[in-house]
Symmetry: C2
Subunit: 213 residues, 2 copies
Amino acid sequence: MAVRIDLNISLDGVAMPAGQSPEHPMGEEWGKIVAHYAATRTFRRRVLHDPSGEGTTGVDDRYAAAYFHGVGAEIMGAGMFGLHAYPDDADWRGWWGDEPPFEVPVLVLTHRERPPIEFANGTRFEFLATSPQSALTRAQELAGAGDVRVGGGAGVARDFLAAGLVDRLHVAITPVVLGRGVRLWDDLHELERDYAVTSEVAESGVIHVTFAR
Amino acid sequence: MAVRIDLNISLDGVAMPAGQSPEHPMGEEWGKIVAHYAATRTFRRRVLHDPSGEGTTGVDDRYAAAYFHGVGAEIMGAGMFGLHAYPDDADWRGWWGDEPPFEVPVLVLTHRERPPIEFANGTRFEFLATSPQSALTRAQELAGAGDVRVGGGAGVARDFLAAGLVDRLHVAITPVVLGRGVRLWDDLHELERDYAVTSEVAESGVIHVTFAR
């Protein structure tokens, strides 16, 4: 029943690089901070539906597998669903393809509500214009005995952290300096006060830091 | 003959917390990011002149010992020497006490030159109004076969990094969020491009990240 967040950031704390464009909806340098995750066996199987079993199986993959384990419902921002790309297309079903990797109810926070979208694999997107606390209450109803994951983007994650709603935050820090973009830590002064913090370094060089209540 | 920098920062990259005052010349929360270093046996012996042999002896102490090893000359900003505290006192000898821990020539970058100050233990402060590159040339003359360490503060360290003058950067990241202050990484976009980056986590929970050419 925990509320969890996992984020990939740079050494300078950027979770969403600057420079979004139609070709690079997540920013040109986003690939740098997700490369370790995209290389894992779990990501390849779960997100790319690659049955080959290829991909890394070390520390990064352990976090990737944990990311998907035990989640009963997900909350994400409109940008992460893909609403910002096609705000006026009522038929747009998001950029996650026909088999979104969530396989649970997903609440998409947006100012413009729209009808739910359902996929055969258990993913069901529901669109809500509400506060983080209200969205969490709804997500917990849907999650049953499972955890609620706040998927992102960075702004949504920060809102939930600032509101004190998060039980576990895992950040994977790639040691690169991006310089511009949405920084995770801004306005989260003394976040560590309510958590035990542990860190470990993966074979890839990525630093995994976990804040746990 | 390497040029080296060691810095203590927070998870959000703050090397110099906001809120300096006479009682807290380095900012109220500075203690949070130097606690691991101040706890080491090396710091206690070298900076506090504590002969007891007490202090931590793990990973943090290994970096603390390396900090003092092989340095032939040091460069620091006026603030790190203590000039900002007493700018108009010509007799002010800095806040490092009668046995400054450097024991080598130290170039203090300042806009107002003043006569050198010498201590019995080999520390000699020389005051220069010049560019990073010129200060480095002078420091290398003084260092002989030793390394040049750029001691700080954060602004001076960033100037040397931005100018591409640094061979090795070691940052000790304490997993706390300070929120306000001088951030190390600003304007250092793609710093990693010229370096191999390695990381390890100390027993204290501090993350040591090293950029080496």
